[in-house]
Each structure stands twice: as C-alpha cells, then as structure tokens.
Amino acid sequence: MSVEAHLAELLLQREIEAFLYREAELLDERRFEEWLALFTEDARYWMPIRRNAPSDAPERERTREGVDVNWFDEGKDTLSRRVAQVRTGVHWAEEPPSRTCHMVTNVQIVRTDGDEAAVKSRFLLYRNRVETETDVLVGKREDTLRRIAGQWRIARRMILLDQSVLLVKNLTFFI
C-alpha cells in the first residue's frame, strides 16, 4: 500500500470515529433533534431480539428485519416521534430525564463503496435515572454511513444487544 493510500485510510478511520463520537455526544447532551439530523431520510434503525438457538441453527439467533417482532424496526418517521415524545415534558419514563453515557469503541471500517462505508463498532451504554436506578447495556452496532454533501449520515443501523431477555424495564433511549 502506498503511503498516500495508507494515510487516506487513517484519515477516513479518524473521520468516522470522530463522527461516531460526536453522535454519542449529542445523545448524552440530549440534543436529540441534532442527533436525528444525522440520519438520512430513508434511514433504517433495527434492533433484533436475540434468541438462544442451537449452534447449528444460527438463523434462529436473531429475529428478522422486516418480518418478525424486533425491539426496533423502523425508519426516521418513528424515530422522530420518539424524539418528539421526549420533548413533551410528560413522557414519564424520561421525566425526569435519564443520565446516559454512550461509549463507542472497536470502530472498524469493514467496507467502503463510493460514498458509503460499512462500519462496525461496540457500545457500552450506561443509564442512571432518578435515585439509584442503573442499567448497563453492551453490544455491537453495524452501521451503513453515507456521505451526503460532504457530511457523513447514518443510512442504516443494526444494533445487536448482547441480551436475550431484556434486563432493563424499557428502551427509552437511543443506542
């Protein structure tokens, strides 16, 4: 690999990491409208349910997008309603608001194709609310990022939470 190509790869890696960190910052600062603007108009936001399946039947390990019941399986319209709900001031599950801390790591650019990049990462999401209520969620994300007018946008996100029975009472936050 030429030095130029290597540098370009490093710069892209840095650029995408910075994008994901900025996204996490927007969420933890509750700047949800700005966060929403990071998604393309045709974005998909999908979080399958994880199942305990025999190791020779991996297709049963997660529920299917667009077919099964999932934790999330939606586009920007529903995401927008979630943001609007938080802003009503009477969404009791987030009133008073939770404190969240999104940590994103293991960022790997799996593939680039023109203005799109397939990016894998790991997340650790800490939520604390009211007095002592504390949740920790850990898992993987697989994103398709798209560069539009020079800015990265999220065109697709799959969230693989590493839990089967959900150990938190609700999913009122974004991952």
Partner: protein, 446 residues
C-alpha cells in the same frame, strides 16, 4: 399450606380497599405460587410457534420453565423443563426442532412425547431397577388448545378450560377470532418480547384488567401520535361512538374493557395511514357484520384472563403474560397477533404499529413500566404498608344482565359514562384472587 389469616383484612373488595401487603409480602407471594400458579390455567404459547412435528419453544408457567412441544406424531405437550434425575434443564434453547431433549448433566434423554428413552449405562448402573416408564418428563396434566393458543394447568382437578373461561370466552374471542368474523385464524408474529420489570406481577395484571383511568400516563403519546391513522394511540371513532363497558366475572377473575357500537353505526374509518390496509379492514368489518349478527357491534380492549394473561384485543392486537419472578419482579412476555391469512402488506403495517406502541420500546408501554416500578417500590416501606390502596371507584354501579337493543352480554358490567372510569374490573380480579388464595382445592371453590 396454612391459611394466611389476615387475607380478609388485607383485601376488602366490597369496601374497595386492598392492602399494599399483597404486592410486597414474601409469604403471600409463596402462597400465590401454590394456590394460584400451580393451580390456574396459564397461557403457554401459540400453536403457530410449533407448526411441525418436533418443533418446540421454551416457555414459563409461573416461576417455572416449561417446554411447549409438538411430538413426532403431532400431539402437543407441555413439560416441566427439568430432568427427572438431577433437575438440569433439558432444553436451554428458546425454540427449535428436535428428536429428543438431552440433559447435558448426566445424559438422560427424553423423546418429544416426554418418554425417558436414554439413560447412560442403564443396564450396568441400575440393573433391573430403573423403570423408565415412571421417569418421563413431568407433563402438565391439563392442556388445552384454544383458537391457536395453548393453555395448561398443573392441577389435575382444575375445571375444564372452557369452564374456567366461562362467559369470558365471548370477550377473549374478540382477540382470537379473525377480523372478518370467522372463528380463530390468528397467529403470533415471529419473535416474542421478553423483559424484566421491577414490580409485582399484579400491577400489570390489574392494570390490563380494566384501568382506563390512567390517561395521564400516556398523554405524551396522544400528543405525538402513533396511531394507525397517524394520530393519537389508535383509531378512536368506533370507540367514541360506542357504549364503553367494564366487564368482569368476579367468580372467575377475568375482565375486559369492551365496547358496544350502536346498531346503526356506520363503518368507522380506520388504518388510514395506508389506503390498502384501510381498505382491507373496511372489507373485514363488512364481513364481520354479515357473519356475526348483532355481535358485530362488540369489540374489545385490554383485559386479563386470571391470573396473568392479558389480551389487548383490537389496537394493538397483542397478549402478554406477567410471569412472577419473586414478589418484586415480573418477566413480561408479549406476543403480537395477526390473521394468518391477512395480506403480507397488512401484517407488515400492523407489526410496525404494534412495536411502536407496545413492549419496552413501545412509546405507550414505556411509561407503564415507569409507573408500575415506582408504585411498587414506594409500597414496600413499613409506613407505606399501613395505608391501603383505594379501589372505590364506581362501587355499586355495575350490573349483571346487561342488555342493549336486545343484545345481552355476560358478566358484571359497569356502563362507563364517556370520559370517566370504574374499578369494577380490578375488584373482580381481586375477588377471584381472594377466593383462590383462601381455598385448599378446586373442590372448595365449586
């Protein structure tokens, strides 16, 4: 088990007071496991989850893990998921297809009909002593398949399921019958929401039995609008035109919020976010009117089949089971229903609506969990427990023998003035709870 003597002081449905103790007390919780969950009919799953011979899903009855299985010959069974030798779970998969259940501890294996078929070193280790026919998986002695659902009871003396449902079958059918009025035909969409909520199982069970008083909980959803026509939580015209009924069967424990439309009510527009889906449901409603006679006017809402299965009969169309996990925790399992022969586009539209409404990510149900969890937590204190909850709303205002334009409906029914509410159904739920907790056997209850 000895009777807990104070139950009559704790639960006074006639006066409309119930002690917080029944939600948080360890001894009462243990008695519930014996007298309710080891005795009542419980929802185990859906036949659509196990269509083929050898198909199984793991499920739960009360605290205990069970296997719902279709054996190689096609018969449906419910087994305790525990090896007869040392108790290890013989199935740790959520679903699958198998020839046998192999215990990973010592290797006992069981056929899909529960028969013990494999015991390592049986001849040498046991000689002639082990009678394998006596050591099959523990099977629920009572099992009933009803319109695609599978129910079971651990008590051989339990009444037949249809007697257990009694007059409530009419209301449960509002969930399970096809939208166009044919009998049955519903299936569960693949994928079951399973999650933990930090509250006693009775908080959600009584909420679904008939709590129409908690509009404030969901005001944010009404403001945002997630309904199938883009507004509110659901399509409201048919509800707004209907008589609003709180239906309970106190001697069975089952309840539902139901609605009865006027005989001359026109078709109400619904599912308007998609012209094709709207058209499909318009067609179904016309067919329902044709097939169901005067009963087309009746449609359902939330309810509870005693003790812990809660249908939501119409929008969204779903059923949850509230599995007890100790007095202070509940594991919710929620299935979502569609007519098996509905067009793919309709199923897809409904699936999206269902999961933005219900479950832990559902805009509506999220706020329920917040309320149940903190209501429970705040009820545990020594001082808090001295102060009972109030269940007086609408006391004495329900009737049996309800009739409207010649259509008689079963149950003890409170006719709800629009915009108001009643706790008729919750009182029905706790009437049955008190009966079961106080009786040593089904015979005593008869």
């Amino acid at each position: 088990m000895a009777e807990t003597p104070k139950l009559d002081e704790l639960v006074d449905v006639d006066a409309g007071t119930i002690s917080r103790e029944i939600f948080v007390n360890e001894e009462i919780y243990r008695q519930e496991q014996e007298r309710i969950f080891a005795r009542a009919w419980l929802l185990v799953g859906f036949e659509s989850q196990i269509p083929q011979p050898g198909d199984f899903v793991a499920s739960s009855m009360g605290e205990e893990s069970v296997i719902l299985c279709r054996d190689r010959a096609g018969a449906v069974h419910v087994f305790l998921n525990s090896c007869r030798h040392r108790g290890m779970k013989v199935c740790r998969y959520d679903e699958g297809n198998t020839r046998e259940f192999l215990c990973p501890y010592h290797g006992w294996s069981y056929a899909t009909d529960g028969t013990l078929v494999g015991v390592p070193h049986q001849k040498d280790a046991y000689g002639a002593q082990l009678d394998r026919s006596r050591w099959g998986l523990v099977e629920a002695p009572r099992m009933c398949r009803y319109k695609g659902t599978v129910w079971a009871s651990w008590d051989p003396a339990a009444p037949p399921f249809l007697d257990y449902l009694g007059g409530y079958a009419l209301y449960l059918d509002l969930l399970l019958d096809a939208w166009d009025g044919r009998e049955g035909g519903a299936e569960a969409i693949g994928g079951v929401h399973k999650w933990l909520v930090p509250c006693n199982w009775k908080f959600p069970a009584e909420n679904f039995s008939g709590d129409r008083y908690h509009g404030v909980s969901h005001r944010s959803v009404d403001m945002v609008g997630i309904g199938p026509s883009g507004k509110g939580r659901r399509d409201m015209q048919e509800r707004n035109e209907a008589r609003s009924l709180d239906v309970t069967f106190p001697d069975l424990g089952h309840s539902m919020i139901a609605f009865l439309r006027p005989p001359d009510a026109p078709l109400a527009p619904a599912y308007q976010d998609s012209p094709a889906v709207g058209e499909y449901f318009r067609y179904c409603e016309e067919e329902r009117r044709r097939r169901r006679g005067a009963h087309w006017r009746l449609f359902g809402g939330p309810g509870t089949v005693f003790p812990n299965a809660s249908p939501l009969a119409r929008q969204p169309r779903t059923i949850a089971v509230w599995h007890p996990r100790g007095p202070h925790q509940t594991e919710v399992w929620r299935w979502y229903l569609v007519d098996a022969d509905a067009p793919v586009a309709v199923k897809d539209f409904l699936r999206h609506y269902y999961i933005r409404y219900s479950g832990p990510a559902g805009l509506t149900e999220q706020d329920d969990m917040e309320n149940w969890g903190y209501a429970h937590a705040a009820s545990r204190g020594t001082v808090a427990r001295r102060h009972p909850y109030n269940y007086e709303m609408g006391l004495g205002r329900a009737t049996r023998g309800f009739e409207d334009h010649g259509l008689a409906l079963p149950g003890r029914i409170a006719d709800i003035v629009p915009g108001t509410a009643s706790e008729n159904n919750q009182r029905g739920f706790y009437t049955r709870w008190r009966q079961l907790m106080g009786a040593a056997s089904w015979a005593e209850l008869a």
